[in-house]
């Protein structure tokens, strides 16, 4: 009976709404962490026979020669070519997408007539909804062979004769082709977030700048862009996450060879790509190695995200504090 008294007292306290709310939120938060941890741990455990046998060679080796054993590790697994493929294509994608996205976002928020801005926003955000396999097919059958190929030939024959990594002979599907199509997929995300932060620039500040005699360009350069910078960096990192993980479009366009090419106009393979295209026919030991590539991709993504947070934190702290006033 005494025990009942205590527990009913406890129950009354537990039933307080904010307590319940806190527990529910806590469980939700812990759940996300648990899922992440389970994924990381179980994939690492499954890939361990390959990871422990190859050691750092898994990241630094460039020979990927899968074995066919069911119980042992007989092949050679060095994923460097795929790491390079993922990083280079993502880099090209960002280098093209970010300036373009920022320019479009500036135009939409600062310069475009209202109706044009609305239409443009809608159209670009529609791009984000196009499935990546459609981007891949479009690139494979139309864009890369008919639009990019002549351009790549010209660049390789001119700049490529003295600039490293731009040399020929060009093959049609390559790092550059995958990176450019990837940039079309990344651009809407970067644009949407950048537009959002630019639209948040206080009207009073813009008005003040104009009142001081600033031109439209000076307003953008000295008022809008500095305020939007942390947001743009955040948007870039979102885009980078998308680019690193993009699988099917890259696999279709990157050229599918397992080499580390000497030029962006040659073929290679990405990390997500090698998993997607070889998983089906992989023997058990090869599956372990592919899961290992998945773990590696996860680690690289986490590192990139942390780096992004650090950059945003370091460069954006001042503006954020000012805005919170």
């Amino acid at each position: 009976m005494a025990a009942t008294g205590i527990s009913s007292g406890r129950r009354r306290r537990l039933l307080r709404p904010d307590e319940i709310f806190r527990v529910v939120l806590g469980v939700a938060g812990a759940g996300v962490l648990a899922i992440l941890a389970t994924m990381l741990i179980s994939t690492t455990v499954q890939a361990w026979p390959v990871l422990s046998r190859e050691g750092w060679g898994f990241v630094t080796g460039s020979v990927w020669d899968p074995g066919t054993s069911r119980s042992e590790i007989t092949g050679e697994y060095g994923a460097l070519a795929f790491v390079v493929g993922t990083l280079v294509t993502s880099g090209i994608a960002l280098a093209v997408a970010v300036p373009l996205a920022v320019a479009v976002a500036l135009y939409i928020t600062q310069a475009a007539p209202r109706r044009v801005a609305a239409g443009l926003t809608y159209t670009i955000e529609l791009l984000a909804a196009v499935p990546s396999v459609v981007f891949g097919l479009w690139g494979l059958l139309f864009f890369v062979p008919t639009v990019l190929r002549p351009l790549m030939d010209v660049v390789a024959n001119t700049l490529g004769t003295f600039v490293p990594f731009l040399g020929g002979p060009v093959v049609t599907y390559n790092y550059f082709a995958a990176g450019i199509v990837l940039s079309f997929m990344v651009m809407p995300i970067v644009m949407a977030v950048s537009r959002e932060v630019m639209a948040g620039t206080p009207v009073t500040e813009i008005g003040a700048a104009y009142a001081l005699g600033a031109t439209r360009w000076e307003v953008m350069r000295h008022v809008v862009l500095p305020r939007a910078r942390p947001g743009i960096i955040g948007a870039t990192m979102l885009g980078l996450g998308r680019a690193l993980g993009e699988t099917i479009a890259v696999a279709m366009l990157i050229g599918g060879s397992q080499q580390i090419p000497s030029s962006v106009f040659r073929g290679g393979q990405s990390m997500a790509g090698i998993i997607a295209v070889t998983f089906q026919e992989a023997a058990p030991e090869n599956v372990k190695a592919l899961i290992g590539v998945g773990v590696l991709l996860f680690v690289i993504t986490v590192v990139v995200n942390m780096a992004a947070r650090l950059i945003v934190w370091a460069t954006g702290g001042y503006v954020a504090k000012e805005q919170s006033l």
Binding site: Q46, V63, W64, D65, P66, T68, S69, R70, S71, L140, L141, V144, P145, R149, P169, V171, T172, Y173, A251, M252, G255, G256, S257, Q258, Q259, G267, Q269, G273, V277, T278, Q280, E281, A282, A283, P284, N286, V287
Partner: protein, 356 residues
């Protein structure tokens, strides 16, 4: 890596089948062929269109038997077969000794290999101004090894008298995914070139040594690579080459005959070769009118452990496919088994569930 869903599905299917079977017994219809049977198979994607046709057409013959074939690839097919998640498997490569031992240990009896059809691997090319190209095995191997890098190489010119070969780089196109087609192709290269055998070797996925090489996913990816890269040469399934009309090279066979890849020359390749008792064979050393780069695809089934209705249905379907399915196979550009091999395959079908 123990996906239990297919197993659960099988149990459910078995229960449903049992329940339905029980119901029809209550109606005392009696005839075993009226009992609905569900069979689940998974594996190779190369013969999948044909198997789906065979399954569809067989429903007219035996409406009570429903067969579900999932085209998940040979690797997955072998895994699920050994893991007892399917009733039959399908693979473009016969089981290795290790797989065979694991399979036998897992089921307690041996699996049988039943060849169903042949496929050939065509060497497709895209060289401006060249309408007809003949290659030999060793020259093909040297091209894919990166030893021959120009189209006007004397070794190529010697095989093509009267054809003006351009002074252009060779781009080598290969499959970027693991594939039975790659396995047939590299097995052939290993048989004609020691450098290939001791280098990249044979397999569903190998290291491609030629520096100027590009990869494509599946047959359409490789075809796109060949069509988009002037000076390229690659390999695709014959049926795919026929459908797309891409130019293909004639290959010199063992007897020195330059043979174009066709259904007929593929069938001819399979006719004269020695075949071991367990029907695990590669098609190598082809002569006569045969096209030299060809291989079989197999169904895998067990010699024990089915229930009676399942075993009867599986045997009946495969027997029907081998005996009456040739026309469908040719229609879909597969090469059916020659008569001598068909008899051997049917003898294996008789072994299904024979050890029960």
């Amino acid at each position: 890596m123990k996906p239990s869903r297919p197993t659960t599905l099988l149990i459910v299917l078995a229960l449903v089948a049992a329940a339905c079977g029980g119901a029809s017994n209550d109606d005392s219809s009696g005839s075993p062929s009226s009992e609905p049977v569900e069979l689940l198979g998974a594996g190779a994607s190369f013969p999948a269109p044909l198997y789906q046709e065979w399954i569809g057409a067989y429903r007219q013959v035996e409406p009570g038997v429903s067969i579900n074939y999932q085209s998940i690839g040979s690797g997955g097919g072998i895994e699920q077969f050994i893991g007892q998640q399917t009733d039959f498997g399908a693979s473009d490569a016969f089981l290795t000794d290790e797989e065979l031992a694991d399979a036998t240990a897992a089921r307690g009896c041996e699996p049988v290999h039943i060849p169903t059809v042949f496929g050939a691997v065509a060497v497709a090319y895209n060289v401006e101004g060249v309408d007809s190209l003949t290659l030999s095995g060793p020259v093909l191997a040297d091209i894919f090894l990166g030893k021959i890098t120009r189209w006007n190489d004397p070794a190529i010119a010697a095989l093509n008298p009267g054809v003006v070969m351009p002074d252009a780089d060779i781009v080598v196109a290969h499959r970027s995914d693991g594939s039975g087609t790659t396995s047939i192709f590299t097995t052939y290269l290993s048989s004609v070139s020691d450098d290939w055998k001791n280098g990249p070797g044979a397999g569903k996925q190998v290291e491609w040594p030629a520096p100027n090489s590009v990869g494509g996913e599946k047959n359409d990816g490789v075809t796109a690579q060949i069509q988009q890269n002037p000076g390229s040469v690659g390999y695709v399934e014959l049926s795919y080459a026929i459908e797309t009309g891409i130019p293909v090279a004639k290959m010199l066979n063992e007897d020195g005959n330059a043979v174009e890849p066709t259904l007929e020359s593929t069938a001819a390749a399979a006719d004269g070769i020695a075949i071991p008792d367990d029907l695990r064979f590669n098609i190598l050393g082809v002569g006569g009118d045969g096209y030299p780069i060809a291989g079989a695809t197999w169904l895998l089934a067990w010699t024990c452990g089915y229930d009676e209705a399942e075993a009867a249905a599986l045997k009946a379907w495969i027997t029907w496919a081998l005996e009456d399915g040739d026309d469908l196979a040719r229609e879909l550009l597969y090469s059916p088994l020659p008569d001598s091999l068909q008899a051997k395959a049917l003898a294996k079908v008789a072994l299904i569930d024979a050890e029960r």
